[in-house]
Amino acid sequence: MLRILVTTLLLCLVAPLMAAAIETGDPALDAAFVKITDRNFATKAEGVTALAASGNPKAIELLRGLLEGKLRYLKKNKRLVWMQRQDGRTVAIDALNAEDYGKFSKRKFKKLAINNKMRGQIGSLLAQMELADPDPAVRLASVTAMLERSDPAQAELFTRMLSTEQDPAVREAMQAAVALAQLSDADPAKRRQAIAAVSDSLQPGVRNGLTRLAESDPDEAVRAEAAKALEKIEARVEFFGHVETFFFGLSLGSVLVLAAIGLAITFGVMGVINMAHGELIMLGAYTTYLIQQLMPDMIGLSILLSLPAAFLVSGAAGVAIERGVIRFLYGRPLETLLATFGISLMLQQLVRTVISPQNVPVSNPDFLSGFWQINGVLSLTYNRLYIFVFCLLVFAGLFFVLKRTRLGLQVRAVSQNRAMARAMGVRSSRVDALTFGLGSGIAGIAGVALSQLTNVGPNLGQAYIVDSFMVVVFGGVGNLWGTLIGGLSLGIANKVMEPWAGAVLAKILVLVFIILFIQKRPRGLFPQKGRAAEG
């Protein structure tokens, strides 16, 4: 009796395993698939190696799908499938024979999970397999990927391939890889040759190899040459390090300028202490989020559309604040401060209640992601580059409005001498509202830019309000150039100090510096001159 029971139990256990067998007609591939669909990551990794070694024409495609997390398997019989959109529904297509399994359901399929170790493994397997790709660009990418992983065993492979490789860029990359590998050659003469060959390279692998030679090579001449080459490379690395710090400073500075430039109008030109300035930035960022919700498939376009929309939303909010509250408080800075602080809290809570107390996701379009690799050690991120350019454009636009348009003329007239401007027929209250709206609208535009860099949440504004006032006061109240120069120089100062002082101390030092500076020059970098400034 017991035996029957045990047998039945065993059968029950074995039955699903039997059903799980995969039949592709290729026993090597079958074995690989069984391993890949295993739960254990070590077993999966073995399966991946087997799949790459199987020589199946679909192997590259499958490995890439695995790497990108697009491959799933049917729980029932462990067939690998792709998800495809067909006529508005998701269907499962067999990855090997393109058989259509019909509608996709979450319960029937499971994602083929991989871990970081496997990502690295698949990456280098793909690089090796794509070395023979007919497209030179793919070959170049694959050689570069292998160079990064700097596996000495590759030298032989590359030397062999160099004899047939035609494309100059690919040849160059391969030669570098060969030289790099030859740094650990047994023959000292070859090692010295290799040092000479790589001495122009800024690749981290080269530096590590040279450091190793300079420290512990048995041959003295090799040690000396390696040290010399290393010194030359280090000098260049240091130079590019400075360039990088300068760029970081400029980009931090441009964020500060963007956040502060609206305030330079409302506080600088009009003299209103607007504590709700940060929340106007926040409104701009939320506008970006809402527009992205409306057009989830066109991220790039949504960002461009957000710019005018955010200007209008924040600008309108600014006009409402000016007409509703601030105009009754002109000349009473303390009350303005308290009232606008209250408005800032109300706007924050409004966003918490209406949208959510959680941060909201804003996607980056492709043209704002990634980096521009200038050489082995210097790369500039695109989003920072664009924001720096954008900051300059906003500044130029604002400058144009203030200096070349009728509104700008009236704004300047009212801020310099209100009574006289009114006597000349300027409707000063209308100009006040428009000026405040302009400053607020610019804050909204800054919000669009910030949504690409940082969190979009109810607290976004608070993070920038102190910095904004700091920049405007430092640059000189009432002077747009002051805001630009002040913001950029504070950004650079912060970034120059950060590497040796740490982020916390660098920020404190900048604040201390500003306090001391304001003691010496209370009107900032570029004080406003003339009779108005005295009043």
């Binding site: 990502r119 981290p204 996701p361 992601s369 860099l453 607290n459 993070a463 912060n494 982020a503």
Partner: protein, 430 residues
């Protein structure tokens, strides 16, 4: 209006108020009050609002099951507004004025430190649901979140298994990251990692410009040894940090980041495609495949009427803590805090990953430790799980000062920091 009318109105009002307070007193006798002390406004509202809702849901479910000791449970929600001194005031209000029998709340360590004297003075019970730096065990606090040995140490162990040799310990500049990193540094050195292979970096709260730090990490990681970042970066600062990592082209396969403060809730504010493969260590993930978890997720999404809402680790901690308290009250037959505190030690309730978590004598609980990799849908893929449950350790074994300390709140020891070398209890309650 004549004076007489005014008097009449006044007396009417007074009697109405009296009547109402009598009704209130009658109600109070019929319900057991549970305090919920989570910030609903200010910087921490982003994380704590969810926990308030979790508590409301748990209390509602318990009431559907018939309440407790034949009475209904009543939630008393207060808003300490992310303001640390206000936490202490609100805690006092909950215990003295509202007469709650237990309180569930706090997120940051500083808020817990702020309410701790209040709970000890008034003998209240606090269930604290967030992972923290350890080095504390109070008679009146139950730590249902992870202690460092239930999160940080297993995380580092996992990375060591994956071949990591160089370590960046990056954190926000306050007590939790500083203490955790001190423990981790001591642990790494004990494991033979040299000082030159450890880089420690602190940034202010809400830090948003990560360019130079990420560039430094990239440089540090290009020395030819496998490098990983152990991140105790808190809250809002994480999004710009991960964005900068993605933009500078650092993928999880090059330099993985393992975070202790990034969960499903935080990821729901980020586009996670560039983050795939970065890690987090918790005691619970929403992606845990278990029936209790499925039921919990379903109940939660129904309660907040939103199918996109995620669950996270501190929510599970409240789930465990609340059920433990319910069991302890049943066991003690009363809600009296002292009796419940005695009864709760040893109580075991199901957690959401298919096991039983028990309250230990040091007021910490047993939990499994899970390591997950971020997926492109904002969920975690579990890549490692401790074979058994890990007992929360109040005093770290890797810090010289706290090595000889143990906490045991059972009689006869009844001490949160008993020194086994000198056989003395410092007398301080925490």
């Amino acid at each position: 209006m004549s004076f007489a009318t005014q008097i009449r109105r006044l007396s009417l009002a007074v009697s109405a108020v009296t009547a109402m307070s009598v009704v209130g007193a009658v109600q109070a006798a019929d319900t057991i009050k549970v305090g919920v002390l989570h910030s609903l406004s200010g910087t921490m509202a982003i994380s704590e609002t969810t926990l308030k809702d979790t508590m409301l849901m748990l209390i509602e479910e318990q009431n559907k099951k018939g309440g407790l000791l034949g009475k209904k449970l009543e939630a008393v929600v207060v808003d300490p507004a992310s303001n640390w001194p206000l936490f202490a005031e609100k805690a006092r209000e909950l215990i003295e004025k509202e007469k709650v029998d237990a309180t569930f709340g706090c997120w940051t360590s500083v808020s817990r430190k702020s309410v701790l004297p209040v709970f000890e003075e008034l003998n209240g019970l606090l269930f604290y649901p967030v992972q923290y730096e350890g080095e504390e065990s109070s008679k009146n606090v139950f730590y249902t979140g992870a202690a460092p040995n239930q999160q940080a140490i297993p995380a580092v162990d996992y990375l060591m298994e994956q071949g990591v040799k160089r370590w960046v310990l990056a954190g926000t500049d306050y007590v939790y990251p500083r203490t955790t990193n001190k423990i981790l540094e001591a642990y790494l050195k004990a494991k033979g990692v040299v000082a030159g292979d450890i880089m420690i970096n602190y940034t202010p709260f809400g830090h948003s410009d990560w360019q130079s730090i990420v560039a430094d990490i990239k440089k540090f990681g290009s020395a030819g040894k496998k490098t990983a970042v152990v991140s105790t970066i808190n809250g809002d600062a994480n999004v710009p940090f991960y964005k900068e990592l993605g933009n500078q082209g650092i993928s999880a396969a090059d330099i993985p980041v393992i975070a202790f403060s990034v969960g499903e809730e935080e990821l729901s504010g980020i586009d996670t495609k560039p983050l795939v493969g970065h890690l987090a260590a918790w005691n619970y993930f929403m992606s845990v495949e278990d029936e209790t978890n499925d039921a919990f997720i379903e109940a939660w999404q129904k309660f907040v009427k939103n199918e996109d809402r995620v669950t996270n680790d501190p929510m599970e901690a409240h789930y465990i803590g609340f059920n433990m308290w319910v069991e302890a009250v049943k066991k003690a037959g009363t809600t009296d805090p002292s009796a419940v505190a005695d009864a709760i030690i040893g109580v075991a309730v199901p957690n959401l990953s298919g096991g039983l978590s028990a309250m230990m004598p040091n007021h910490h609980i047993t939990k499994p430790v899970l390591i997950g990799e971020i997926q492109d849908d904002g969920q975690f893929q579990i890549v490692s799980q401790t074979p058994g449950l890990v007992v929360g350790d109040a005093w770290s074994d890797y810090l010289e000062d706290s090595k000889p300390l143990i906490a045991d709140w059972r009689t006869p020891l009844s001490c949160g920091n008993y020194n086994v070398k000198t056989s003395k209890c410092s007398g301080q309650n925490y």
